[in-house]
Point group: none
Chain length 140, copies 4
């Protein structure tokens, strides 16, 4: 399981990336069940992105896929068109949600919202990289 | 914060524009938190637009962007496709919602619904222009 | 039908009463269909009362009864216990919603929220009294 | 406005209290508009309390009252019976939500869920006390 301490480390790494980019973000980390462990809204970040960041984390865990990749399957006419209206509207289908892995299995996810899709993705990747690096260090 | 008196002035300016166009409208003004300050439905305006006007105001504040511009990012295959299913269905992605600025910061928004996108936008702009003019006068 | 001009007169009378009491209120007027005509949130009124004022107006029209009287029928074990979870949660069962009458028929309602039940009721009654007086004058 | 840094300080104080009590908690801080600034779920805290903590913070801000005091007004037959079905189900009416004050005005709220009402209240009070102490220090 991802602990609060680990989730905070993920948030810190993502937050540092957002600061570097210069775009305030909402950042959320979800656990194995897709449930929120912790969330931050950086000063000045969009109000509407609170919900989106939390849902991107849920989505990435719910389908064990990045929301960016899920989006490619969900356009009009796509295999999963309309998936974003399932699960009581908790599914988000644009970039910024990434699964977190431990020993090859998804154990949680990070969700980021507050900028362009490219920015959200970069910040989420920074958080996920922090988790991966610490997992690697812990397994040594 | 936007006072009720200021919100009423915004509504009056927007209403005058709607009268000029000859199209009855629902007009809503939201505060810093996206919450409704005041709303009017002009005689003959659509019932279904009550909800939409209020949500356009929420959306313009939630993402600090006009709903017309947000819509451009949210078509099928767009960066924010599906954003309208976030925030418990309170996000509207067609023209008529505009942020209100004080000293360069968004402090609220106006939402208008009742006609074509072009009409809604024009009425919202009239309301936003009233607020901007009064802010300018107050800062002198 | 209640016009926007009439609804504004109702609001003004209710607002004057709220000022007299010294308690900021949310005040809403609904039409024959229970749909919002206009709403104001007085400066400093509770955010959570926006929704409640609008719903009290809906409720008073939906069941053609004051919400204070409906509440008496809806306690645990009462005939209408649980009614507040019907209609997509739009039913409110405490004082402050009052039907508006024209020639003995309900044509709309006022909903007020922001103080105690006694205060809300008094402000709603002031609004309803304004409408009744104007109807009487118009019928002469 | 409450900054993320201030919200984190509030969380830290509340978390220390929860550790002292020995009961893992969900702790949320909301801003002036009732919107989430930051949230933590301590290891082992209930999943179902994520939502409740966030809603307690919303409620305490929406009505500018502690949820414990609101609960006293909302029993069967009470003045505000049924208030928990307003605001799209975001109103929670048991102890653990407390408004945060700056210069006598509510500027946000803390919401805590994870233990008994007495425990939740104690943890929320620890967070609120931290904010009050820092506000006092800042005003000197």
């Amino acid at each position: 399981m991802i602990t609060l301490e680990q989730a905070r480390s993920i948030i810190a790494a993502a937050e540092a990336k957002a600061d570097e980019i210069g775009q305030p973000m909402n950042i959320a980390v979800a656990d194995w069940g897709g449930h929120l462990i912790t969330h931050i809204r950086m000063d000045g970040a969009w109000l509407g992105s609170i919900d989106i960041a939390i849902k991107k984390a849920f989505t990435a865990r719910a389908f064990d896929i990045s929301t960016r990749d899920l989006a490619k399957l969900a356009p009009d006419g796509g295999e999963f068109f309309g998936i974003n209206t399932s699960n009581q509207g908790r599914v988000m289908i644009f970039a910024g949600g990434i699964p977190l892995y431990r020993e090859g299995r998804v154990v949680g996810a990070i969700g980021v919202s507050g900028g362009s899709g490219v920015q959200d993705q970069a910040v989420a990747e920074a958080g996920a990289a922090d988790f991966a690096a610490r997992e690697l260090a812990a397994s040594d």
